[in-house]
Amino acid sequence: MGTVIVAAVLAVWFGLSAACQLTVPWGERPLDRLRARDVFGLIPNFKFFAPQPVQHDFHLLMRTVVDGEHGPWSQVAGPPERCWWHVVWNPDRRAFKILSDVMAVAYRFDEGKPRAVQTSLPYLAILNHITDAASQDPSASHVQFVLAISHGVLSTEEPSVVYKSDLHSLGERDDSSERNSHHRDRGRNRGRHLFA
């Protein structure tokens, strides 16, 4: 009996895996619903780097506003440097892949729908990180971020901005003497209060 159960489970698992690799106009909606319900990621996506691979690098930049003045843009995250030991050990690839995937979704932001963009998961994920990074500067009142792409090692094409956020307030703050000593913790709280 156990063997029959295993056979049935594995047959269904393989069948769904094979079906979800298809890209067919008449079957996309049912397959999309199926993928949406695959909350544990049991159904694989085997289209590695296909059909159209990403041929640019993502960069996340931010700037703060201090006393009403915009500060310079600084890079928060970009592609990690490649090292020879990455053939066996490459933790930065995994960490940056998360941000690349977030930005690959953000890349398609419809700027004509700012409310939908600003409540989307990729936007919130980036904003969560950016507000914390900006909070390192206790005098900063606002933060703004940019998603940019560069075109690789052989390209002469200039990096380009694909999305620029609105300015986001970092929240109220007082001028007490404790401000500097506690700004880090308060900054974290400001970054988190949106989501807690």
């Binding site: 156990g2 063997t3 159960i5 295993v6 056979a7 489970v9 594995l10 698992w13 393989f14 895996s17 909350v39 544990f40 990621g41 049991l42 694989p44 996506n45 085997f46 289209k47 590695f48 780097f49 296909a50 059909p51 159209q52 691979p53 990403v54 041929q55 640019h56 690098d57 970009g78 592609p79 990690p80 490649r82 990455h86 053939v87 066996v88 050990w89 490459n90 933790p91 930065d92 690839r93 995994r94 960490a95 892949k97 998360i98 690349s100 995937d101 977030v102 998961l121 919130l124 994920a125 980036i126 969560n128 990180h129 560069s150 690789g152 090692v153 052989l154 974290r188 989501f195 807690a196």
Partner: protein, 251 residues
């Protein structure tokens, strides 16, 4: 091999705890908003116990230990089954936690460990091996066929485009491919043809196995060197024993 691969991939997550904490772009406090049942209620609280920071790192640490024991002792017996379930459930939780940052190697680890866990618990080891071999054939075929359909892969520009990136590419390889456009085109065609044709390995005579498996390992090793995708080597190598089993025992 799957144990070693899971250990490496898990240690890579543990080595960068800042990539999963509450102020990262991979914060569970944000990602849980994806679904109402993971954001609130008793289900939200239950999943947060395992997926919030820093508990999630504990889950990864447990997975690391389980995979290490599996690598040392093998998947036999009740302990082996338990460890396989620990690894499988932990990998499935990753899928629940985030839609971002997953790799093909994670998917293969989940398929292999899930099938082996089912077989170790309920029986049906041969079916599990057939399942793994079928999945790996599907993965190569899907990857190759999806590229064959795209002109940029057939003429080599997609291969060069990927190699030019700092994220997945390699400057030396990009420069060589850029100055050898004919070789780039034929290398791309050879790669995608080999991927799409991989299911034929299951029909190949057994004496060809060492060459074909060696070619597969070489392919993933080159990708690890050039692209830094180190975990793919372990993930796909862990499926090859199932491929060998199917070829040697097929009717």
């Amino acid at each position: 091999m799957v144990g070693i691969g899971v250990v490496i991939s898990s240690l890579e997550i543990l080595a960068r705890p800042e990539a999963t904490n509450d102020v990262s772009w991979n914060s569970w406090r944000v990602l849980r908003l994806r679904r109402s049942w993971s954001a609130a209620g008793w289900t939200g609280r239950a999943f947060s116990l395992a997926l919030d920071h820093p508990q999630y790192l504990v889950v990864i640490a447990v997975r690391t230990v389980a995979a290490a024991v599996l690598a040392l002792t093998g998947p036999d017996g009740a302990l082996g089954a338990l460890l396989l379930w620990v690894v499988t459930l932990s990998l499935a939780l990753r899928g629940l936690r985030t839609p971002y940052g997953g790799e093909g190697s994670d998917q293969v680890f989940l398929l292999v460990c899930g099938a082996l866990a089912l077989a170790a618990t309920f029986g049906g080891q041969r079916m599990a091996l057939w399942f793994i071999a079928a999945q790996v054939a599907l993965s190569y075929f899907t990857s190759g066929f999806a590229k064959i359909l795209h002109g940029d892969w057939r003429n080599g520009t997609a291969l060069l485009g990927v190699m030019r990136t700092r994220t997945w590419g390699n400057e030396g390889a990009a420069r060589w491919l850029d100055s050898h456009t004919t070789a780039c085109r034929w290398l791309s065609r050879a790669m995608i043809s080999a991927e799409a044709g991989f299911p034929l390995v299951l029909l190949a005579p057994s004496w060809m196995l060492p060459v074909l498996i060696g070619a597969g390992l070489g392919f993933h090793l080159i990708i690890a060197i050039v692209m830094g995708l180190n975990c793919f080597v372990w993930a796909f190598a862990s499926t090859y024993p199932a491929v060998i089993y199917v070829v040697l025992t097929r009717p």
